[in-house]
């Protein structure tokens, strides 16, 4: 075998070995790499997790409610996170990010109450989707009725089809 050919196989071998090792590692760590669970993922479990988790989905339209305000100005808020199939109630005390609103993708981090009734969030992150457009275009889409809130996957968020 020529030296060149030998080096070629060596390089290919190194790459394939590394790719295989990484693929196995990532597969084993799947649960920790995923940044959040969908409400359906949690509904599939027999018991609600007792550790802190991240839950992602859309803020259910009509579910947002403000309660009393703390002395430091932080409001109590309650809303539901949905993926279209399952909904989970969330309670949070604090200021919400600018992009937070009903129908918007959101990721909350916190623990379930002992009775599993709702999630007490300590962090709320707004999730931006992959759609970028000027306000006029968004308004025009809404007006013509072509705006679609595709609930389903939290990852896709509101996706206007055009």
């Amino acid at each position: 075998m020529k030296k060149k050919t030998r080096r070629f196989y060596l390089a290919a071998g190194i790459f394939i070995f590394a790719a295989g090792a990484v693929a196995l590692t990532l597969n084993a760590l799947k649960g920790s790499i995923t940044y959040f669970y969908l409400p359906s993922d949690l509904a599939a479990l027999e018991e609600k997790p007792t550790t802190a988790i991240r839950l992602g989905g859309l803020v259910e339209t009509g579910s947002l409610a403000y309660g009393e305000t703390e002395e430091d100005g932080k409001p109590h808020v309650a809303f539901a996170v949905t993926d279209g199939d399952t909904r989970i109630n969330v309670a949070y005390v604090g200021l919400l990010p600018d992009l937070f609103r009903e129908g918007q993708g959101v990721i909350v981090q916190g623990r379930f109450t002992p009775d599993g009734d709702h999630l007490n969030a300590d962090t709320v992150l707004a999730k931006h989707d992959e759609n970028y457009m000027p306000k006029e275009v968004a308004d025009a889409l809404k007006e013509s009725g072509r705006w679609q809130e595709t609930g389903g996957k939290a990852g896709t968020g509101s996706a206007p089809q055009n």
Partner: protein, 249 residues
């Protein structure tokens, strides 16, 4: 038709690279001025991000370049490793600091966009973490070159790191599809066409063009510097040898 080997010759490289650089610098200036003008003044604000969307015009092309530069290092390293191409290792070595700078720019601008939009400077999601690993790969690659005096040995070890690290590139690209992540999925290079409104694409592509010509100019110049430094080192060691042989005789 000139064969690829003609470009491999360092002397020939100097002959075409030197006059190419001023043109590339000129193109960079034009594209950057036009790109920044569109990005900052002549493009619409986003319907939900407002003016923060303008960060995207700096961030997204920087992230593209981060991936492109690393891929170029991996390919050049493979060519250098297998065929011992005289310029491939130099190209790989000199691409690294530029690529690292683009990666840092992408991480930094992403962070200042993330705070107002997501509500967090940083999140350990798959996309952000894999890009941070890319940044460390760049630093590790550069460190290997500095660790070994012997350039041939440094080139071989750096090439192995570059080829192993190339595994990370598809992971970065598909991280937003494979795992639930905070970072949004691809908006431009995706099946079904871009989800960025056409009025926002010109500044994005102008900036991408500016980064590309800047990269080409910076790479050619640093390759010339490196080749010149190697030639000087050879002359220097040659003189020492001659002096030593004179002393001996």
């Amino acid at each position: 038709m000139p064969s690829l080997y003609e470009f491999a010759n360092p002397v020939r490289f100097e002959r075409w690279a030197r006059p190419a650089i001023p043109w590339l610098v000129g193109a960079t200036t034009l594209l950057l001025v036009a790109g920044l003008y569109y990005a900052l003044f002549n493009s619409p604000a986003d319907y939900q991000q407002g003016d923060s969307v303008r960060i995207m015009y700096v961030h997204v092309p920087a992230a593209w370049m981060a991936l492109f530069c690393y891929s170029l290092i991996a390919v050049s390293s493979a060519v250098g490793f297998i065929w011992k191409h005289p310029l491939a290792d130099v190209a790989a070595k000199e691409t690294a600091p530029i690529g690292a700078a683009f990666t840092f720019l992408a991480l930094f601008t992403g962070s200042i966009w993330g705070k107002p939009m997501w509500g967090a400077w940083w999140a350990w999601d798959a996309r952000l973490t894999s890009v941070l690993i890319l940044f460390f790969l760049y630093l590790g690659y550069m460190a290997i070159w500095r660790t070994f005096e012997d350039k041939t040995r440094a080139a071989r070890l750096a090439a192995i790191l570059a080829m192993v690290g190339f595994v990370n590139i598809p992971i970065i690209k598909f991280s937003v599809d494979w795992w639930n992540s905070l970072h949004q999925p691809a908006s431009v290079f995706r099946a079904g066409g871009p989800t960025i409104h056409s009025s926002m694409l010109p500044p994005l592509f102008l900036m991408a063009g500016a980064y590309m010509t800047f990269f080409a100019a910076a790479l050619l110049q640093s390759m010339r510097n490196e080749l010149m430094a190697r030639r000087l080192a050879r002359i220097d060691s040659g003189e020492k040898k001659t002096a030593a042989s004179l002393v001996e005789s």
